[in-house]
């Protein structure tokens, strides 16, 4: 199995885990982290699958750079909303470690 295919499979699993984390109810911060795992997974599939025959494909690599920037933009917006909301989930969760 090529490196590309291996990481494409890892990406598929990461996407699934992350998507489940976003879909499940939970503290906003956790869902934001899950969204980032999901996005990383999709991007890993994009490059890994394209390079599964060995070799380097600059086209999906450039797309992934775009994808990473889009992900950080969405993360910042989500955090801004969660912070203004006072994040009720964070309150419940920090009770057991403080």
């Amino acid at each position: 199995m090529s490196t590309g295919m291996l990481f494409a499979l890892v990406g598929a699993l990461l996407f699934t885990m992350g998507a489940a984390g976003v879909a499940l109810p939970g503290a906003p911060l956790r869902r934001i982290v899950a969204f980032n795992v999901m996005g990383s997974g999709a991007l890993l599939v994009l490059v890994g699958l394209a390079q599964r025959g060995g070799g380097v494909d600059p086209v999906p690599q450039a797309m992934v750079l775009t994808g990473i920037v889009v992900a950080v933009a969405a993360t910042a917006l989500a955090l801004a909303l969660a912070r203004r909301l006072g994040a009720p989930g964070a309150r419940a969760a920090s009770g057991d470690d403080d």
């Binding site: 490196t3 590309g4 291996l6 990481f7 499979l9 890892v10 699993l13 990461l14 885990m17 992350g18 489940a20 984390g21 503290a27 911060l29 956790r30 934001i32 982290v33 899950a34 980032n36 795992v37 990383s40 890993l44 490059v47 890994g48 390079q51 380097v56 690599q61 992934v64 750079l65 990473i68 920037v69 992900a71 950080v72 993360t75 910042a76 955090l79 969660a82 912070r83 006072g86 994040a87 964070a90 309150r91 969760a93 920090s94 009770g95 057991d96 470690d97 403080d98």
Partner: protein, 85 residues
């Protein structure tokens, strides 16, 4: 079995494990720290996929900036939840 393949398999396993721990972490603090580790491992994976541009961007933006954003949010939310001043 080449050294490269062994490294790839190890990296793949660690990546999945860190993602799982991130998502299943008992506290948001743990989740954020583990996510930063996950981001750095992602950068390694990009390097293994011969994508140094992405590895750079992932380390700086994916792990670095996103991590800083999450940590900062965590600090604020916790201070507020702790009934701050």
């Amino acid at each position: 079995m080449t050294v490269g393949l062994v490294f790839d398999l190890l990296l793949a396993g660690t990546l999945l494990w860190s993602a799982w721990r991130t998502l299943a972490a008992p506290t948001p603090e743990r989740a954020v720290i583990l996510f930063i580790v996950f981001g750095l491992l992602m950068a390694l994976a990009w390097a293994r996929l011969s994508a140094p541009d992405i590895a750079l961007a992932e380390a700086a933006i994916g792990a670095g900036l996103t991590g800083a954003l999450l940590l900062d949010a965590l600090g604020t939310l916790r201070r507020r939840a702790g009934g701050g001043p």
